[in-house]
Symmetry: C2
């Protein structure tokens, strides 16, 4: 988080949360590996007063010298955008070109209304997300087995392989009711899935991980324990993968993948790839 | 989730997770309220073989008639993109124009490498996010008070006002260590904050909600209970807001706001608005 003069300044300006602008700018700037960027979020710029304050802040940074700040904007209101453009900066209008093009293609005018994508706190789709989060929290780590029949997917795998963050991400981002259930040494001794899961076999999706990485993660939690030993990790993972293959459960390794990548791969594989706007 | 012929077909095509493309397309298409869109995610299109399969799928949809599908693409590889462009569709290249422009501005070539923004499962920033998620889960609803001094922010408010999903979102999206702690009738009887929180007063951020909405939410959990009664909700909220004003705790209402909006407003107000790429 060092803010050196040599870091290229970036401002993310939005009339709403700025999440779209941030996601987009992050993806684009990731293509320029050798340059370090220092980004500042300026969300909720939805009045001329706030536009003035934002413009002053960008101006101050520009006055410190160096190359002009990059401004990634999802501002819809042209008067507000024009205020920002008065500052010496590289202004990138993320929506402009596409909204214009889509108006032509779709043959209707856009509403040009501010911040529509993340401010719908009372919509049906939004309530489905909140319910999914509550479901995933209640069904984390097999702690609650009632209602598993309502799960869209049940993640299985050894302790600390990434089930919990993945379940929460699936719920939060995609309104997917993702439960998760641990595979433990007792299951491997019996050589069978936990009995609780048998009725839901078709909903199971497995996560695995490299033993070395698992030992690292477990050591952070319980240093120098048998639980965290490489030997134990190797054995549990070998058994878990054997069980998943035997039971024909689709699975993937989380080792070098982010939660986003794991989650979207699961959706892709289980066929939850549709959404309605 | 009805998929009628009149819904305009949308395909989200990416060589990685497709999250950037989906966030962006959702934001842009939200500007066209009167049109219903049916979107299909086609992530991880990172080979010609997968490009062929994706192209076939889009072609099939186009063959069903109606207006041509919209394709939102963050494909970086031009050969893969060209394969998709052969299908009769409206192809929107989200990165193209901006990456080109930034190459000129920054004076360096982009890496044009695929899926860099969400696939960094072993980076330092990524580990910070996972740690933040674990922290927020462990410090959900005041269940664990050790380590509160490591929190970036501690959300306070009455039961079911939105603390848990907000904490998890802050952790997941922004690597913010967000704890949350309930304000309960006993606190209001004493007319003071829980003693546990006193050393961390400067980290507190309050959430409130309209009594009518709170009663709705609580009724889903415990129908017809005193806990869910409008009278009880009104009283708790009045007391909680009084306490937050008295203690000078910044707070906001969650009633009509999404988790994204609540979270970014909190970051904005507590000054956690910087990030390094």
């Amino acid at each position: 988080m060092t803010d050196t003069v040599s870091d290229r300044p970036v401002f993310i300006v939005s009339d709403s949360t700025g999440i779209t602008a941030e996601t987009f700018s992050h993806a684009v700037l990731s293509q320029f590996e050798e340059i370090a960027f220092q980004a500042v979020r300026l969300p909720f710029i939805d009045s001329m007063e706030k536009a003035d304050a934002a413009a002053r802040r960008i101006q101050q940074r520009a006055d410190q010298g160096g190359p002009p700040p990059l401004v990634f904007s999802t501002l819809v209101d042209s008067e507000i955008a024009d205020r920002i453009r008065q500052v010496p900066c590289i202004f990138l209008d993320l929506f402009g070109a596409f909204v214009q093009e889509l108006e032509d293609i779709l043959g209707v005018k856009s509403s040009r209304s501010v911040g529509r994508s993340h401010t719908n706190g009372l919509s049906k789709q939004y309530n489905r997300r909140i319910e999914a989060i509550n479901f995933s929290l209640a069904h984390d780590d097999g702690q609650y087995i009632q209602g598993l029949e309502q799960a869209d997917v049940i993640l299985v795998g050894v302790s600390r392989c990434g089930k919990t963050p993945t379940s929460l991400y699936l719920a939060m981002q995609y309104a997917v009711r993702a439960a998760n259930y641990p595979l433990i040494p007792e299951d491997f001794d019996r050589g069978a899935l936990p009995a609780t899961l048998l009725p839901f076999r078709r909903k199971l999706f497995g996560l695995s991980i490299q033993p070395e990485r698992l030992a690292e993660v477990r050591n952070e939690r319980r240093p120098n324990s048998t639980y965290a030993s490489l030997k134990q990790c190797r054995q549990e993972i070998a058994e878990a993968e054997r069980l998943m293959r035997m039971e024909n459960i689709p699975w993937l390794s989380t080792t070098t993948r982010s939660i986003e990548e794991i989650s979207t791969k699961i959706l892709d594989e289980v066929g939850l790839d549709r959404t309605t706007y």
